[in-house]
């Protein structure tokens, strides 16, 4: 069976709508991952050893286990614990939690790259720890790692089809539905694949550009 171009064009609007869902889920998930990742990175430096170990092993566990299973876990277990979230919200939560384990490592690398002399100068001036973090360390730690964070944004985008497994009507789910209705899988799946490829290549180029601009500063 050859590729039916007319059909392919006709399903573009549906795919466009689904792309909106995918993009929203990815952006929301990334916002969560960025916030949580910073929290984990800071907690890894907490004075209490129990906290440090708990965060270390927690991050290690989340990073070593499949995102799909984590999605299922939240989807099936949360309602039982009295927390009812829409599939979309559950998906965003899962994406955010999973990727916060990665962004935490990125933040950690950025923080450790700030020279010790900066900490000492802030200490000598009497700046409080909170102020030192906010005004001296983080502003120097984060800009160099933005490209790495950007890469994870792209990775999350490519992982978003897993949300189809819990009925979120994003790109892959839409392709499956079209296929089920019309018995034509080739066109929708190929288009979806190409869409991902296009977004991926464009964002990879944008991130490389950003990297070069940040390095020049």
């Amino acid at each position: 069976m050859i590729f039916d171009w007319a059909f392919a064009v006709s399903i573009l609007p549906d795919l466009g709508r689904a792309l909106g869902v995918t993009v929203r889920a990815t952006l929301a998930g990334m916002a969560l991952a960025l916030a949580l990742g910073l929290a984990w990175a800071l907690l890894r430096r907490a004075p209490a050893r129990a906290v440090r170990l708990a965060v270390f092993w927690g991050v290690e566990f989340v990073r070593s286990t499949p995102l799909l299973v984590q999605i299922y876990f939240l989807f099936f277990v949360l309602p039982g614990a009295g927390i009812t979230l829409s599939p979309f919200a559950t998906g965003v939560l899962a994406l955010g939690l999973h990727y916060s384990a990665y962004t935490a490592e990125v933040y950690r690398a950025g923080i450790e790259a700030v020279p010790r002399g900066q900490w000492e100068a802030a200490w000598a001036l009497g700046l409080s720890p909170g102020h030192t973090w906010r005004a001296v360390v983080l502003p120097q730690a984060i800009p160099p790692v933005v490209p790495a964070l950007g890469n994870y944004l792209v990775a999350m985008f490519k992982d978003s089809p897993m949300l189809a497994g819990i009925t979120v009507v994003e790109l892959l789910q839409t392709a499956k539905l079209i296929g089920a209705e019309t018995f034509r899988y080739l066109e929708p799946l190929t288009l979806v694949g190409l869409l991902f490829l296009a977004v991926s290549l464009v964002s990879a180029r944008a991130i490389r550009h950003l990297e070069r601009r940040l390095a020049a500063r």
Binding site: E120, W123, A124, G126, P139
Partner: protein
């Protein structure tokens, strides 16, 4: 020159620095071995000696950047690592350390300016957020100090746009803005190209002559030390070997090690 209007009045006669029996080891290496040192208020002290003698460690201890393994340290009569509570001495908490630290300022060998802030912001940051100065007051103080060190036209520049000598002068202004009673200088010209050293020494010279602050200067610039110091302390192997007025030490050192060191430094 900025007056040393520190927080608490120091009883007259109390030394600004009192170290007794201070021991400090880094791993297996013993860097300070039972050090005793008293520095009266307003004295300008040059700390000289070979590398590894423990000079920087003394400064870092006074700045609370390092803990001591044994011995006591007092700043303006206040013990550094213990504090009074209910008539007894208990280990100092963070608030106590902060209040002790407030009396001390430090200028580092590698400047350690905040690269993402302008010179002006570098100097106003601590006065605003630690001393609680209003923005205008902090900026006025910063402008005055930056003028004093010769950087009046570099207020909006970033550290990366300045030469090493300019950066170090900015770092001095930044430390002075906190109006400490004790200023520590840790080999502040060692990381500079030779032609930039004089501009920094010029600022130090003014500070030594015109301010009432106590200055503790670790330096390899022997000629400079001779010129501005009230007192020279020679350290070697973690101990104070000789401690005297500059003329005495430089023209007639009593200790053989001092003699050897001065010979090696003044040669070439």
């Amino acid at each position: 020159m900025p007056p040393a209007d520190g927080p608490v009045q120091v009883p007259p006669g109390t030394p600004i620095v009192r170290m007794r029996g201070v021991r400090k080891a880094f791993g297996d290496a013993l860097v300070l071995d039972g050090l005793d040192l008293d520095v009266p208020a307003g004295q300008k002290v040059a700390l000289i000696g070979p590398s590894g003698a423990g000079k920087s460690t003394v400064l870092r201890i006074l700045m609370t950047l390092e803990r001591v393994d044994a011995g006591t340290v007092e700043i303006a009569g206040e013990p550094m690592w213990t504090m009074p509570r209910g008539g007894r001495a208990v280990p100092a908490d963070r608030a106590h350390l902060r209040s002790v630290r407030r009396r001390v300022g430090m200028v580092f060998q590698h400047f350690n300016l905040f690269p993402h802030m302008t010179v002006l912001r570098n100097v106003t940051e601590a006065p605003r957020h630690v001393l609680g100065l209003a923005r205008d007051a902090a900026e006025a103080r910063a402008r005055e100090l930056l003028e004093l060190v010769g950087l009046a036209d570099k207020l909006e520049a970033y550290p990366s746009e300045l030469s090493g000598g300019q950066q170090q002068r900015a770092a001095i202004a930044r430390a002075l803005a906190m109006r400490p009673e004790l200023m520590l200088f840790d080999e502040v010209t060692s990381a500079l190209d030779p032609e930039l050293v004089d501009e920094v020494l010029g600022v130090l010279r003014r500070l030594a002559r015109e301010s009432r602050m106590t200055l503790l200067i670790v330096t390899h610039e022997i000629g400079f030390a001779r010129e501005i110091a009230d007192r020279v302390v020679f350290m070697d192997g973690g101990r104070i070997v000789e401690d005297d007025a500059p003329e005495a030490i430089f023209t007639n050192p009593r200790n053989e090690r001092t003699r050897r060191f001065l010979r090696s430094v003044l040669r070439g």
